[in-house]
Every structure is written in C-alpha cells, then in structure tokens.
C-alpha cells in the first residue's frame, strides 16, 4: 500500500478514486510513564515515553486506515493528514484520514 500526503503519487497515475478513509485511536498513558514524565517535568527536555506512545498510536491509526482502504480495493491512499487532540486528562486521540485511490 502506497501512502502519500500529496494529491498525486509521483511517478504513478491515479485511475480511480474510492473516497475518504480514516483511522483513529485514543490512547491513555500508564502510571509508570506518567511517573517518569513527572520527574522529567522538573528538568524538562524530551519525554521519550510519550514520544514512543504517540508513535505507536499513530502507527495503529495508520494501520486501521490502510485496512479500510484495502477493503475498498484501493492500493494507495493520497493526501494523508494527521490530527491530534487531547480529549480528557491523560488521553490523546490520534486521527488519520486520506483519500483511497487506485494507482498504476
């Protein structure tokens, strides 16, 4: 499956559009990570635990989107966009959406 965030696929031709596909996940951090983040909050800098968490969740959302596209019979998703929103304290929603297409 080809993913791009441009409207076209460089080097390929889009022959069919299938419409919107999307995937989301809501993730909460766990206590261990929160504790470390609390400590890290004193000295600042990168919160590696959170970076990992966001990366994993984003991959999960991407996977769901790709599954949806596959079901439609698409072999590529173009114009992929990400959005993050914090819903409640300690939980973040990752949302990915794009247009499923068939490319040759």
């Amino acid at each position: 499956m080809i993913l791009t965030n441009t409207e076209t696929i460089p080097g390929k031709k889009i022959v069919e559009h299938y419409g919107l596909v999307s995937g989301n996940t809501v993730r909460a951090k766990h206590i261990g990570r929160d504790l470390m983040a609390g400590l890290k909050n004193i000295i600042g800098g990168e919160l590696k635990g959170y970076t990992e968490l966001m990366k994993d969740s984003r991959n999960e959302a991407l996977k769901r989107m790709m599954q949806q596209a596959e079901k439609m019979g698409a072999n590529a998703v173009v114009n992929v966009r990400f959005s993050t929103s914090s819903i409640t304290q300690g939980a973040a929603e990752l949302y990915v959406y794009g247009t499923a297409v068939k490319a040759e």
């Binding site: 409207e7 696929i9 080097g11 983040a37 890290k40 909050n41 000295i43 600042g44 800098g45 914090s86």
Partner: protein, 155 residues
C-alpha cells in the same frame, strides 16, 4: 515548620530545574546544529507536489518524525509569573523550536537511512498534550509531528 519544608522543596525544584534544564537545553541545541549540518544534503520541500507525475520516481512513501518536549520547572514558574504582565515568552519559543527542529531532523534521518532523494509536501503539526502533574500546575508539554512524502528517484 511544614511551610518551611514546602518552601525548601520549592526552592530546590527551581534550582534543579534551572541547572539541569539549561545544560540539557544547551546540549540539545548543540546536537541539533550538528545533525542539521549532517542532513543538509536532503532537500525538504513544502510544495504540494503539483505536477509531481513528472517526477521520475521509483518508490514513494510516507515518512513521519515526532517529538514530545517538556519545559523545565524553573522556566515554567518564570513563565507563569510573566503571564501576569504579558509580553513575549522567550522560554516557550525555544521549547517549541526544540520540538520542531527535532521532529524535522528525525523525519530527515529516517528518510536518509532508506536512501531517499527528496521529501515533498512536508507538514508540521503542533499540539499540546497537556499533562497535569500532581495538582493542577499545567505542564508546558508540546507534541510536534512532521510528515511528508519521501521520494526515491529512478537511477
């Protein structure tokens, strides 16, 4: 007595935050500069790739770089004082700057590792994933994600 201990903890947190925070920040900026020079050969474009069909691409894929950075205790206290008077919050400017540059660097490094020739339509998204630490002192914590379309050209 209890108040005194509380005050002592507060002063200690500020001191630790100030010393460790500033050294960590200086080191981070130094490493950012070095790595930016190393990856300067890879062009990153923010153009949307109109007419991209003409690019003789062999393979295309999505690359993502992300980073979550937090502010140190000293600067957070300083910033909360500053919000009374308003004006420029320089300490938060450097925080988002650190996050953005790190995220873009990770994106470039990942693309470079797989032998990519250019990145099209690079986009940056910044969001605060506010974590409340202990009581309600809101932590200055931002998540930055940079993403784009990596292209490997036909040789």
């Amino acid at each position: 007595m209890g108040d005194l201990i509380e005050l002592a903890v507060f002063v200690m947190l500020i001191l630790v935050g100030f010393t460790a925070g500033s050294t960590a920040e200086a080191l981070h900026f130094k490493s950012l500069k070095k790595r930016e020079e190393e990856t300067s050969g890879l062009p990153v474009l923010t153009v949307r790739g109109g007419g991209a069909e003409d690019i003789r691409a062999d393979r295309v894929f999505l690359v993502i770089g992300e980073c979550v950075v937090a502010q140190d205790y000293f600067k957070r206290v300083l910033a909360s004082l500053k919000t009374i008077f308003g004006g420029r919050l320089g300490s938060y400017e450097t925080l988002v700057d650190r996050g953005r540059r790190e995220a873009i660097l990770r994106l470039k490094e990942r693309a470079k590792r797989v032998g990519c020739d250019l990145i099209l339509n690079m986009r940056i998204e910044t969001s605060s994933i506010g974590i409340n630490y202990k009581n309600n002192s809101l932590a200055g914590c931002v998540e930055v994600v940079a993403y784009g379309t990596a292209v490997i050209l036909k040789k």
